[in-house]
Every structure is written in structure tokens, then in C-alpha cells.
């Protein structure tokens, strides 16, 4: 009926990657020598599903590869094979190969056949190494050859005596006879002799038997195939009704020729069958590839989240119809009801919004899950003993944020393993336990998710960092920096204290990239460290990139949105605290700090009647660890705004991170506070040149 099965490929890839993750996790937890049978079972099931699916969807290379792996696992499951460390390692590489194969297939890239073959051969070798030699036994065609007869018209007599319990397997003799009828012409005789007296008759049992005469172009294999499901539930004889002529031929030495001919038939049958079975799948792949290239991405959502949404929408509809009714016959004495209705509407809308956001939220375990493997591999490579502790893995965050935070996290973990935790000998010398501990922790704090990577290693070496920073010209001789500022230097571009560039962690392009990536997500990364005790890297990220809690501010006739998270305080400007410095820049003295003042109306060329600082408000904001004061005319309300990309709808504008649409339909621009702050810090020369131009 021509069903295009490639439409299910996306689901298959998704679940296969999940399956591979499960396999990896279980493999890493496996205790060689004393493996938990449930773990082996779980691993087996995942491999089995991938094999089944890949076969069905025509990904034969994957199916073939997984088959060997599955056989190996099956032997372990049955206790025929020991789970050795070597086997676990090999299976881990197999997981990697499968992951690569599936990724390549999904992106219609080329398969790395050399690597696949290498691991495949290793698996085969391990399989053959088993003393039972199970793999060699598989010769599935033997049976088929026996059963296949020459084509052409032939007559058969089949005696079919079902056992009493046949019905209890859901089988039905009538169905079988009907199936034979579809194959050729039949004459069926029913044998009632075993039918008991009526009062003894058990209607749930089968008491009949049949003798069926077949005549047509049918082979013994075809007949036996029809009875395949019941061969253990009946007595079955299939006999060829031979004409005398055929007898002679059978006894003659021509029988060898018959066998040869029958083998030919099989080959021919195989050839005709295989393309027919696989062709649709193969043909459809390009279409699927195109779809995948678009990378629409999908998300798996728990039913409960969807149910909650449907529930919310129901509530919303009720409120809406209530308001409708109110509006139809509105009188002033119903204002109270109207207001109540509107409050309800707002509440439902907010809840709906929260629920919709929850759909995009995934537990951070999706990201944390890759670390046991990473730590396992790296610690053996580095000859260190490291224990990984993970907590808070159920903390949820936006899928997009999660995808983007993966690489920075890996980098930080690698860094802690490589530079943080000391070698076992060194640790013993320091009086520490031989095994180092790396902890990953995640939790929610306000509208943020906080991820901490803590190691109990040597801590950062302030002296070394400072020396390096001086060498690289990042700081100047004589700069008196407190320790936390020194530690912060490791996030500067081009900084690396590793004496030798190792292939484990970076070559000096690391930490600054981490910081930039985190910053791109609207987050921040910082480090605290104590020599000899360890370091903690803390990443703070907004839960989502789609919605923002904002403070609306007015400048002239324009409304801007300031992310609430970056606002520290707002104050009436006291002119005594305003200092003008060379270059036209202004500073505001707030307690013991001097903050650069950013005049938005100048920056964005907005007409405003109020140019005097004394008439306005100063909003103190922080971005990138630096503070600045933004001069605005008025503070409006606070509200959640939906972020629309400026870049995709217009173009990138410095100082702005996006736009949003307000309740009255007007567009408000969202300020990019870190951008503005750094702009104000570099403005000294810029404003000087502007002033020169004006003059």
C-alpha cells in the first residue's frame, strides 16, 4: 500500500540516540566481573531496539553492526560470557561508532567505514573468542533448502490433526485452511471421529482433524509455512501425491540436479525479493535527508505537560465566554464583574505562558549525562583517580539554552580534570585522599539556573596566573589586584597557564570562549578558588531565552525595556555627584564608586525635551561585572516581554539585544546592558572624537 516509512526516521534517530545514551550510562556503571543482570538487560534492550528499527527503516549498515553487538550482549545476558573490562571498553567504542553512524546517516554525510570496520572486526573477534563458538553455527538457509521443491504443478495431501489446546493460542484451523485455499485449489475432508458426545464436549477445545488435498503450483515449504505457527500444536504430515513418473525421476541420479536447480530458485527468489523490500526505503531517504538538513528539531514532551496546557486553554475559553457575555449586555454596575473577569484572564494567560514555557524545559540531566563517560575516559588517559558526583540533575532549563551550554560545560569539566585535580601521588603527598572528586551541581535561583563545577584539586595558583598575565600583557606591572580579580584573568582571551598544551584541555582558547558562550546566553561565569582545597566554577544562566522580565523606561517618546536582572537600583540624580571628565564623559559618584553615565537619547538619537540630568532618573545597571548608570526620563511598569530577534527581522544594532511588542501594539527595544556598559567604557575616545566633529 506504499506507506512512506521514512516519515518515522526522525523518531527513530531520536530514540536511538537516547538508547545509546542509556547504553553508555549503564556500561559505565557496569562492574566488570560482577555485572548486574538488569543492567546487561537494559543495554541489550537498547541495542536490540536500534537493530530492529534500523533494519525496518533500511539502515542496513547500522543493523549489521548492531547485530554483532547484540549477539555479544545476548551471550552475556545468558551468562555464557563474562563481562570483562575489555568487553566494556569495546562496547563503549561500539556505542561511539553507532552514534557517529546515526549522525552521519541523519545528516546524509559519509560513513567512516574504516572505523566502523575496525570496531566491527574487534567485536567479531571477541565473539569468536568465546569457547562456545556460537556465532559459527548460524546457517539459516539450510532448512530452507531442504524444504524447497521444484516449482510446477503438484499434488499434496496434508493431514492436520490439531491438539486439543490449539484454540488457546488464538489459532484457528479455518484460518489456516483458508490460507491454503488462497495458495491453490483445495479439497478438505473433515474427520469427526474424535468428536465427543455432546454432553462431554468442551467448546474451548479442538476435537476435529482434517485431511486436505492440494492441487496447484505450490511447494512443501509454502505449505509448511502456512502451518508454521501451529507446528507444535498439531500432528502434521505433508505428502506429495506422486505420479509413477515422478517416482522414477526421484530415485534416479538426477536428484543432484534437482537440488542444484532448487538452489538456483532460492537465489532467484532472494534477488527478486530483496530489492522489492528495501527499494521504498532507499528511495525515500533523500527526502528525509532534506528534511533533516532543515534541522527543524523536535522535542519530546511529557503527557502531563500537554494535559496541563489543554486544561489551561479550557479555563481561558471559559473566561473569554464569560467576558463576552458581560460585554453583550454591559451596564455600569457590572464594572466590578468586568474587572474580576480581566484579572482572571490575566492570571490564566500567565499560567498558560508558564506552561508553554515548561514545554521547552528539559532536566539538565540531558546535558550532565555525557560526563560520566568523559570522566571515565579522561581519568584513565590522565592516570588520575576521579570520582564524579552529580546532583540537581532534575533541574530544568530551556532546551536551546541546554544545547548551547553543553560545550562550555565540557570545557570546564575537562579543565578541572586536567589542571584542577592532581595526580594520585601528588594528592597522597598533600595528605588528600588518592581519589579526587569532581562535583556537578545545578539548582534554580530566582529566574536563573546555576550550574557549579567543583573540584577538590590544587586550586588556582594566583602567582602563576599573575606572572602569565604580565607576560601576555593582560595586566600591567604594579596593578594591585585582589585575588578574585586575578582568578578572573583566566577568562581573558589568549590566556593559558598550562605549561604544556595537552590534548585534554585547551590551548589557551578555552576559558575566554567559555565566558563568551555563556555571555551570549545572557549568563555569567565566575570562579572561586582556594589553593590546595579546590576551585568552583559557577555558571549562571537565564532559564529561557524567549521571555524576559523587563522594566519599561521612557526616553523622550520612546519606550525601552531593561532586563530586570541587570538592574541594581534607580535613583533621582543629585547634581552634586555628577562629575564631568575629559573627553566629555560624565561620571556619577555613587557611594564609593564612579559610574559612567549613559545618555540613551544621545546614543540612540532620540528627541527629548529633557537634556538636564537633574530632571531625570539614573538607573544603575550591571553587565559583565561592571556597573554603569543609564539616564532615563521616567520609569514605567515592569512586565514580562516576549523577545523578538532584531537580527532576524532587521539587523544587529549595537546596544540592543532585541525588540518586543507591548500591549498597545507598539514596538519597544530591549537594551543590551553588557553591550551598553562596555560601550560606555570605550566611549572616552569615541565621545572625544564626536565632540571634535561637532566643534
Amino acid at each position: 500500500m506504499g506507506i512512506d516509512i521514512s516519515q518515522f526516521l526522525d523518531t527513530f534517530y531520536e530514540e536511538s540516540f537516547e538508547g545509546l545514551d542509556t547504553m553508555e550510562t549503564e556500561l559505565l556503571a557496569l562492574n566488570p566481573g560482577a555485572a548486574d543482570s538488569e543492567s546487561i538487560n537494559t543495554i541489550f534492550r537498547a541495542a536490540h531496539s536500534i537493530k530492529g528499527g534500523s533494519g525496518t527503516f533500511g539502515l542496513n549498515a547500522v543493523a549489521d553492526f548492531t547485530h554483532v553487538l547484540e549477539t555479544l550482549l545476548d551471550e552475556m545476558r545468558d551468562g555464557k560470557r563474562d563481562v570483562t573490562q575489555q568487553a566494556v571498553d569495546l562496547m563503549l567504542s561500539s556505542v561511539d561508532v553507532l552514534r557517529e553512524m546515526l549522525s552521519a546517516l541523519r545528516e546524509s554525510a559519509d560513513l567512516d567505514s574504516e572505523r566502523i570496520t575496525t570496531v566491527h572486526d574487534q567485536l567479531e573477534a571477541m565473539l569468536k573468542g568465546g569457547d562456545d563458538g556460537k556465532a559459527a553455527e548460524t546457517a539459516p538457509t539450510d532448512e530452507a533448502v531442504d524444504g524447497v521443491e521444484q516449482g510446477g504443478n503438484s499434488k499434496w495431501t496434508v493431514v492436520f490433526k490439531p491438539f486439543n489446546g490449539l484454540y488457546r493460542t488464538g489459532n484457528d484451523p479455518v484460518r489456516i485452511i483458508r490460507e491454503l485455499d488462497d495458495l491453490c485449489s483445495i479439497v478438505s475432508e473433515i474427520d469427526l471421529s474424535t468428536l465427543p458426545e455432546f454432553d462431554l464436549l468442551d467448546p474451548e477445545e479442538c476435537h476435529l482433524s482434517w485431511t486436505i488435498h492440494l492441487d496447484g503450483d505450490i511447494t512443501e515449504a509454502q505449505i509448511k509455512d502456512v502451518f508454521a505457527w501451529v507446528e507444535d500444536d498439531c500432528e502434521l504430515t505433508v505428502e506429495k501425491v506422486s505420479s509413477p513418473h515422478a517416482d522414477v525421476e526421484n530415485d534416479s541420479d538426477a536428484s543432484a540436479a534437482v537440488v542444484a536447480a532448487s538452489e538456483e530458485t532460492i537465489d532467484a527468489a532472494k534477488e527478486t525479493e530483496t530489492p522489492a523490500a528495501t527499494a521504498p526505503a532507499v528511495k525515500k531517504t533523500p527526502a528525509a535527508k532534506k528534511a533533516a538538513a532543515g534541522e527543524s528539531g523536535s522535542i519530546r514532551v511529557g503527557i502531563d505537560k500537554v494535559d496541563a496546557l489543554i486544561n489551561m486553554v479550557g479555563e481561558l475559553v471559559i473566561t473569554q465566554s464569560m467576558l463576552n457575555q458581560l460585554g453583550e449586555e454591559f451596564t455600569m454596575d457590572r464594572v466590578q464583574r468586568l474587572q474580576e473577569g480581566l484579572v482572571e484572564l490575566e492570571q490564566h494567560t500567565r499560567e498558560l505562558q508558564e506552561n508553554v514555557m515548561r514545554i521547552r524545559m528539559l532536566p539538565i540531566s540531558f546535558s550532565f549525562n555525557r560526563f560520566p563517560r568523559l570522566v571515565h575516559d579522561l581519568s584513565s588517559k590522565l592516570n588520575k583517580k576521579i570520582e564524579l558526583k552529580v546532583s540537581g540533575e532534575q533541574t530544568e532549563l530551556d532546551k536551546t539554552v541546554m544545547e548551547k551550554i553543553g560545550d562550555p560545560l565540557v570545557h570546564l569539566v575537562r579543565n578541572s580534570l586536567d589542571h584542577g585535580i592532581e595526580s594520585p601521588e601528588e594528592r597522597v603527598k598533600q595528605g588528600k585522599p588518592e581519589t579526587g572528586v569532581l562535583s556537578l551541581n545545578a539548582y534554580h535561583q530566582g529566574g536563573n539556573i546555576v550550574i557549579e563545577i567543583t573540584d577538590d584539586g590544587a586550586g588556582l595558583n594566583a602567582e602563576k596566573i599573575l606572572k602569565k598575565a604580565l607576560e601576555k600583557g593582560i595586566v600591567k606591572e604594579g596593578d594591585n589586584l585582589p585575588p578574585e580579580k586575578i582568578y578572573d584573568l583566566i577568562f581573558q582571551p589568549g590566556f593559558s597557564t598550562a605549561e604544556q598544551v595537552s590534548d585534554v584541555s585547551g590551548r589557551g582558547v578555552g576559558m575566554d570562549v567559555v565566558r563568551r558562550n555563556v555571555k551570549d546566553l545572557g549568563g555569567a561565569v565566575e570562579v572561586i578558588s582556594e589553593p590546595g582545597v579546590g576551585s568552583t566554577f559557577t555558571i549562571r544562566l537565564p532559564l529561557t531565552l524567549a521571555i524576559l522580565d523587563g522594566q519599561l523606561v521612557r526616553v523622550g517618546d520612546e519606550t525601552y525595556v531593561v532586563p530586570l536582572i541587570s538592574i541594581i537600583e534607580s535613583l533621582q540624580i543629585n547634581m552634586d555627584n555628577v562629575n564631568s571628565i575629559a573627553g566629555g564623559a560624565e561620571l556619577y559618584k555613587l557611594r564609593n564608586d564612579y559610574l559612567p553615565i549613559i545618555r540613551l537619547h544621545e546614543l540612540f538619537c532620540v528627541e527629548t525635551e529633557n537634556h538636564e540630568l537633574s530632571g531625570g532618573l539614573l538607573m544603575v545597571v550591571e553587565g559583565d561585572g561592571h556597573q554603569a548608570g543609564i539616564f532615563v526620563d521616567d520609569l514605567l511598569g515592569q512586565q514580562q516581554v516576549v523577545i523578538k530577534s532584531l537580527e532576524s527581522n532587521f539587523k544587529k544594532v549595537e546596544g540592543l539585544s532585541g525588540a518586543t511588542i507591548l500591549g498597545d501594539g507598539t514596538v519597544a527595544l530591549i537594551l543590551d546592558i553588557p553591550g551598553l556598559v562596555s560601550l560606555s567604557r570605550h566611549r572616552g575616545d569615541a565621545s572625544a572624537s564626536t565632540q571634535a566633529a561637532v566643534a
Binding site: 500500500m1 506507506i3 516509512i5 516519515q7 518515522f8 526516521l9 523518531t11 527513530f12 531520536e14 530514540e15 537494559t42 541489550f44 534492550r45 536490540h48 531496539s49 537493530k51 530492529g52 528499527g53 533494519g55 525496518t56 527503516f57 543493523a63 547485530h67 547484540e70 549477539t71 548460524t138 539459516p140 484454540y167 488457546r168 493460542t169 488464538g170 489459532n171 484460518r175 490460507e179 474451548e204 508454521a228 505457527w229 507444535d232 500444536d233 523490500a277 521504498p280 526505503a281
Partner: protein
Amino acid sequence: MPTILAVDDSASMRQMVSFTLKAAGFGVIEAVDGVDALSKAKTGKVDLVLTDVNMPKMDGISLIKELRTLPNYKFTPILLLTTESGADKKSEGKSAGATGWIVKPFNPDQLLATIKKVIR
């Protein structure tokens, strides 16, 4: 309209089977493992059960044994989805009360052809 209970822990297989069966006009109930299938089977009568063997919580073989103890499912056809390497699963399934099996990998046409043998 015959209803088929399709049991598989693999979402893509479930999608494929369910899509094929629905396109052929069958009603389909999906279940993700034996436990799920058993509870769904109990809430209504289905005309055919199609189950995978290897599943978490309750595998296909145990599911068949459980189903056969229910009065409603004494004679209901139950087909096992197995791989060709699982020959022992076939006989294990048979003795648990399976009607027959469909060998993976199969394409939609093969699936329908087999199912139409059992229910018309």
C-alpha cells in the same frame, strides 16, 4: 472495525505500526510496555495484540502469559514481533500462548499481509 493493541517500547516502531494499521482501516491502541498493555487490554476488548518481545517492566512473553489468564483474551490472536535470531523466543512465545509471530525487520506491506491472515 477491528481494534489492534500495538505494544512496543520503541516509539518509531509504534509509529510505523500504528500508522500502517490505521491507514488500513484498523483501530489502534498503543502501549509502551507489558504493564501498560495489560492495563489497556483490561479496559476494553481488542481483536488482536501485536507485541514486541524485549521491553522494560514486562516483556512480551510475560504479557502473553498474563493476557491468556484473562477471560476476554483466552482466544484472542496475539502476534509476537521477533527478530530472526530469536528462534528460541518463538517457541517460548508459543508455549506462553502466542498465536504466531512476525519477523523483524518487516515493511508495512508484510505487516498487513500477516495481520490480514489473522483478522479479516
